[in-house]
């Protein structure tokens, strides 16, 4: 019960902190002081107090999309276990539901972008959908490896497979899986090298360009949903990177939080030392992610 409560609290309150840590890391690399770590919380509060401006040409989809996306992401994160604790909701085959809860969010975001009738947003939507064609197989290959290891189709048990199997026999495929999932994390959350969250040139953006017309609380919801998605993918990656548990619940939670911040710092470092890829090279990166995850599978069944 108490673990469920902590799960929910972390899930709802921690994600903006990760964005803050990433921005702080990037600022330190650039020799700047950077915004405070809690800046994203302030932004969200500020956005919540603003008025909404809605274009005349849009329909209900435009208003509903951010909310549906947020709900989808939150529901998806109820299926994912955090650290060594079990997930709040778990049933056989829920990994399919997980993938498609994320997809429904993506579907409505792209719909809302098309709904505005803005050419640039349409371009962003086209890119988002194109790249997701490649990132989804990578995710499923990763799940396939874990399903093979654990022999179950429940996301909760499946993600704990590295914890149970230990590092001895499967180290090789876990290395591949970790690389693949990290690329996936960067791609799904529109980070450098796939997309630049800070860019202001509409021609080169992916995720940011789709939400150009959203304002006020709706923009806040989009931002918050994106932060939760980052939290979600980091939580999945942590199962592969650090399959450890200490045995006592408070220590495990502390360990989880520290690992989470570590992933955020890693993302910040990657963003600082890499340039954004050319748009036509992004599919190569995603194909590489698919290859890594599928080789993980080959090594496992070999």
């Amino acid at each position: 019960m108490i673990n469920l409560l902590i799960h929910l609290i972390l899930l709802l309150l921690m994600p903006p902190l990760l964005l803050g840590i990433i921005n702080k890391t990037k600022a330190l690399f650039a020799g700047r002081k950077g915004p405070p770590v809690l800046q994203v919380y302030y932004d969200l509060i500020k956005l919540a107090q603003r008025d909404v401006v809605i274009s005349d040409v849009t329909t209900w989809i435009f208003t509903a999309a951010p909310i549906i996306t947020l709900v989808g992401v939150v529901m998806a994160s109820l299926l994912v276990p955090l650290g060594s604790f079990s997930a709040p909701v778990s049933f056989t085959g829920d990994l399919i539901l997980f993938a498609y809860l994320l997809s429904i969010g993506r579907f409505f975001t792209t719909m809302a972008a098309l709904d505005t009738g803005c050419a640039l947003e349409g371009m962003g939507a086209a890119r988002e959908v194109t790249f997701s064609c490649l990132s989804e197989p990578a995710l499923f290959f990763a799940f396939l490896v874990l399903a093979k290891m654990s022999g179950t189709l429940m996301l909760g048990d499946l993600l704990h497979a590295p914890l149970i199997a230990g590092t001895q026999s499967t180290a090789a495929s876990m290395v591949l899986l970790a690389i693949g999932l990290f690329i996936l994390l960067l791609a799904e959350n529109s980070r450098i090298p796939v997309d630049d969250p800070n860019t202001h040139l509409e021609l080169t953006m992916i995720h940011e360009v789709m939400v150009l017309d959203h304002s006020g609380p709706l923009l806040g919801i989009v931002l918050y949903g994106a932060a939760i998605k980052l939290f979600l993918f980091s939580a999945i990656l942590l199962h592969i990177l650090f399959p450890f548990q200490t045995g006592s619940a408070p220590l495990d939670w502390a360990l989880f939080i520290v690992e989470m911040l570590f992933v955020a710092v890693c993302v910040g470092v990657v963003e600082s030392i890499m340039a954004r890829l050319q748009m036509r090279h992004v599919p190569y990166l995603l194909i590489a992610a698919i290859l890594f995850c599928s080789f993980g599978f080959v090594l496992l069944v070999r």
Binding site: A171, A172, V175, L176, Y284, I287, F295, L299
Partner: protein, 213 residues
């Protein structure tokens, strides 16, 4: 057997694919040098009792493959002022997929080989075969002389991984002799690269076949 060894070999395989996928020469050189460092660590993981010869092999490999040769290559690159491989015979994405296919086939092939029992769970043989093949791809499909040297180095890395199978019984002299040969070969090639550049003001090896009376 040490589970870390398989993890290292997988990283080597991943680096192979990255080497095939990038057009920047600096990146290829860095990748091959990282591969050299990983190969240098392998003898330490393979042997249970770490004796003097093992440490020596490891350090010499680390120093040569990880530091000396890459530095020489970077110098050669700076002298001839080339940054990118422009027109490979097979594109970067296709060659990456080809490399991935080769790795998959190497895994299947190694399974069919009658190996000693202690080698069946390790990835040494498939990793060696895949690395050799990736070296071949780099060597044959790239036009610039520097990338071809990198292909040669990757090829040699593959042979080195194969040699790891015999590290217990092979005299260290042979191992060091091979490394010395490699060093000399790279040295000579670097000088040649400079001469090719001076004579043709380009490093495109296809121009060499245009020599006619």
């Amino acid at each position: 057997m040490n589970p870390l060894l398989n993890a290292l070999l997988v990283v080597v395989l991943v680096l192979n694919l990255f080497a095939l996928g990038t057009s920047r020469l600096v990146t290829v050189i860095k990748i091959v040098s990282l591969q050299g460092v990983l190969l240098g660590l392998m003898p330490l993981l393979l042997e249970e009792d770490i004796a003097m010869p093992v440490i020596l092999t490891s350090t010499v490999t680390l120093a040569l493959k990880g530091i000396v040769i890459p530095v020489m290559m970077l110098r050669a690159m700076r002298d001839v002022q080339i940054k990118r491989e422009m027109e490979p015979l097979i594109g970067f994405l296709p060659s990456m997929l080809l490399g991935a296919l080769a790795t998959g086939l190497a895994l299947l092939f190694a399974k069919a080989l009658p190996l000693a029992d202690e080698h069946t769970t390790q990835l040494l043989v498939p990793a060696a075969l895949a690395t050799i093949f990736v070296g071949f791809i780099l060597l044959t499909t790239r036009a610039k002389a520097i990338t071809q040297i990198m292909g040669y180095l990757v090829l040699e890395n593959g042979i080195y991984i194969f040699g790891m199978l015999l590290i217990g019984v092979m005299p260290m002299v042979i191992e060091l002799g091979v490394l010395l040969d490699l060093f000399v070969a790279i040295f000579v090639i670097c000088i040649m690269v400079n001469h090719i550049n001076q004579a043709f003001s380009s490093l495109d090896t296809r121009k060499l076949s245009e020599l006619k009376e």
